[in-house]
């Protein structure tokens, strides 16, 4: 699907709590001989030096949009930096943005949906979150950002696996999975993940939404309400698009701050194409993608990642979208 991107510059966002190994991973990506050149945007509180031709040092400047969306925050510095980098577009093949350890990933993600000039020239490829296997339980206990970073991830690098026992690792993996049923998880010791598993993911492309997740498990048995977790639903009968739009629109407007990411593949009644839907808080993106395969079960699937998720209520809401 390379052509579908229309020559837009792929952007990879690298998040992770302090000390998780984010900068090690970044330097690994940059030093590997992959023949691609990256413009790297780092923040001035970076842990280590970054060795690259094109490094942009920035202050993360988050501001609220005056668009009636209470949780819509964007990174103003990124809008300016993307504009500036486009003046020498021939010097790089992609952009990697490293966030501060304490950053909430929502403003970065939303920047790529909200700003027209950024949207026109770039596409968000994936959010990669580096997680320290040993310290994750503590991080989750003492900082909401750690859970947000997992919730927003398309790819999770579970790092420093050599510092924990197999039992501890299994518990950490389960804790990650409970908060994000959709992300790909890679296990690593010194951030040693193949670059191909990180870059060029197209995780935000609509036709890749849920593509790699034929089934998902929900394990919300031990979740507290304010924990980030993911819940998913399937419906075998077709969806009425108007009912779905009315329901999801109202839901996101009301619960947007709690709903970190929403993704779905929907079978609309009388429609042979699959409809892909995704949202970051209240900001939505949707469109028809390829047709259902012959003989394939036309099952609509919807996943919510967020806080205070009322599973029965969400299920009833989704079920009310079925075509009459």
């Amino acid at each position: 699907m390379a052509d579908a991107t229309g020559g837009k510059v792929p952007v990879t966002v690298l998040t992770g709590y302090l000390g998780a190994g984010k900068t090690t991973l970044l330097n690994r990506i940059l030093s590997e001989q992959h023949g691609r050149r990256y413009a790297v945007v780092i923040n001035e509180f970076g842990e280590l030096g970054v060795d690259n031709d094109l490094v942009v040092d920035t202050d993360e400047e988050v501001f609220e949009m005056n668009n009636g969306c209470v949780c819509c925050t964007v990174r103003g510095d990124l809008i300016r930096i993307v504009g500036g980098l486009m003046k020498r577009r021939d010097r790089f093949d992609g952009i990697i943005i490293e966030t501060t350890g304490l950053a909430n990933p929502a403003p970065v993600a939303q920047t790529f949906f909200v700003d027209d000039t950024v949207r026109a020239r770039t596409r968000l490829d994936a959010i990669i979150t580096v997680v320290d296997a040993r310290h994750l339980p503590q991080r989750l206990a003492d900082s909401p950002e750690a859970a947000d970073q997992i919730a927003f991830a398309d790819v999770i690098v579970l790092n420093k696996t050599d510092l924990v026992t197999p039992e501890e690792l299994a518990a950490v993996a389960s804790s990650v999975r409970q908060r994000n049923a959709l992300a790909k998880i890679h296990y690593a010791k010194h951030a040693d993940v193949p670059i191909a598993a990180l870059l060029g993911q197209g995780a935000f492309d609509l036709d890749r939404v849920l593509a790699d997740h034929p089934g998902f498990l929900d394990d919300d048995s031990h979740a507290h309400n304010d924990d980030v977790r993911s819940v998913s639903f399937e419906l075998a009968s077709p969806i009425d698009p108007e009912r779905f739009n009315a329901w999801i629109g109202a839901l996101l407007a009301e619960r947007g701050p709690d709903l970190l990411r929403t993704k779905g593949i929907l079978a609309f009644a009388g429609e042979d194409l699959r409809f892909a839907f995704q949202a970051v808080h209240m900001i939505t993106d949707g469109g028809f993608i390829g047709p259902w395969k012959p003989g394939e079960a036309r099952t609509s699937r919807l996943v919510f990642i967020g806080r205070n998720l009322n599973r029965p209520q969400l299920r009833r809401g989704f079920e009310s979208c079925q075509a009459a």
Binding site: V56, D59, G76, R80
Partner: protein, 347 residues
């Protein structure tokens, strides 16, 4: 007559091979310059002759202004340098890894000033490049402008704008507040109005005499360029599929509809530049079209037809005789509107 008639009969143009970031004319009037995304400055003699490239930045040029003296220019780049460029290139200041995103200059009979914006700071220099002062802002400076007398400098940033007296002994700005991200700034010629462009496809203004707020909305895209007409009657702006002109007279712009010129084909206007002598405005569009519009008569003169990339640089000479423009794909042109020089400028 084709849309390229003016370009062909009165213009000189070149493909420069990199994004044209900005154009400017030297104050003494001998050259015009195009700053490029590859860090070079291309100098075009106004009386004709070979264009010359000068390497200025190790990276992209981000901003350009005429030097405060009669010849040469000042340039900001993503290599963190603020440089003077012309026959030679010299450093005015360096800022490490920080980008020098905006530059401005001022000159009249007695005052010469240079300024650049780096992150949250404006650095102010005299005409020789000696540092005068640093002005701090609550967030990154996204636009920079001197008033027409060189007494004040205005900066756009998040949640408003700041207006500083250049010669003040103690530096405390007049803060103009309005929630949101402000991304560009203009001062009216009489110094009484400050207008900013905003992230939310709107303009915001402050009338300095009484603090009246002005909201100008309805743009389909972000406004990148703001330009007051010489008399201050009109504020021209980009960001719509026409040149949008707000009336700053007869009680306007409050409660008045803007005048729209050269619109109707659904292509976004990317840049505007008011003529320095008359009530006319030049505009560039996303398809490469460049036009000159007479505001009162609402007459449009095509200068350059579409097809050479989105217009990304546009500037008038101070005498209003020549217009320089460039595009994102590296096309650059200098067009002469004066009566007598038609022959001399043909390629």
């Amino acid at each position: 007559m084709t849309a390229d008639h003016i370009l062909q009969t009165r213009g000189v143009s070149h493909e420069l091979g990199a994004y044209v970031v900005a154009a400017a004319f030297a104050r003494g009037g001998a050259t015009c310059a195009f700053a490029l995304g590859d860090g070079t400055l291309h100098l075009a003699p106004r009386q004709g002759g070979t264009w010359r490239a000068v390497a200025v930045h190790d990276g992209a040029a981000l901003a350009l202004a005429p030097d405060a003296g009669p010849a040469g220019y000042v340039c900001g780049g993503d290599d963190g340098t603020f440089r003077r460029a012309g026959e030679t290139v010299t450093d005015i200041a360096g800022f490490g890894m920080k980008w020098v995103e905006h530059v401005a200059s001022f000159a009249d009979g007695k005052t010469r000033l240079l300024a650049c914006a780096v992150g949250r700071q404006i650095h102010l220099f005299d005409g020789d490049g000696s540092k005068l002062k640093t002005l701090d802002h609550p967030s990154s400076v996204t636009g920079l402008a001197f008033d027409t007398k060189g007494k004040r400098i205005a900066a756009a940033h998040y949640n408003g704008a700041s207006l500083w007296f250049v010669a003040a002994k103690t530096d405390s700005p007049r803060r103009l507040e309005w929630k949101g991200s402000h991304t560009g700034i203009a001062l009216s010629p009489d110094g009484e109005n400050v207008v900013t462009a905003m992230q939310e496809n709107a303009l915001h203004g402050w009338r300095l005499t009484d603090g009246q707020h002005m909201r100008m909305t309805g743009y389909p895209g972000k406004t990148r360029a703001l330009s007051f007409s010489r008399t201050g009657k009109w504020l021209a702006s980009s960001g719509a599929d026409a040149i949008v002109l707000w009336p700053f007279f007869g009680g306007g712009p409050m409660g008045k509809a803007p005048t729209e010129l050269a619109g109707g084909d659904g292509v976004l206007c990317t840049l505007v530049a008011c003529h320095p002598q008359q009530d006319a405005v030049a505009a560039g569009f996303a398809d490469g079209l460049v036009v000159l519009a007479d505001i009162a008569a609402a007459r449009i003169l095509p200068v350059c037809g579409p097809g050479r990339g989105p217009v990304s640089a546009l500037a008038w000479s101070a005498d209003g005789a020549q217009l320089a423009f460039g595009t994102e794909t590296g096309f650059a042109a200098l067009v002469d509107f004066s009566k007598q020089q038609q022959q001399a400028t043909s390629p």
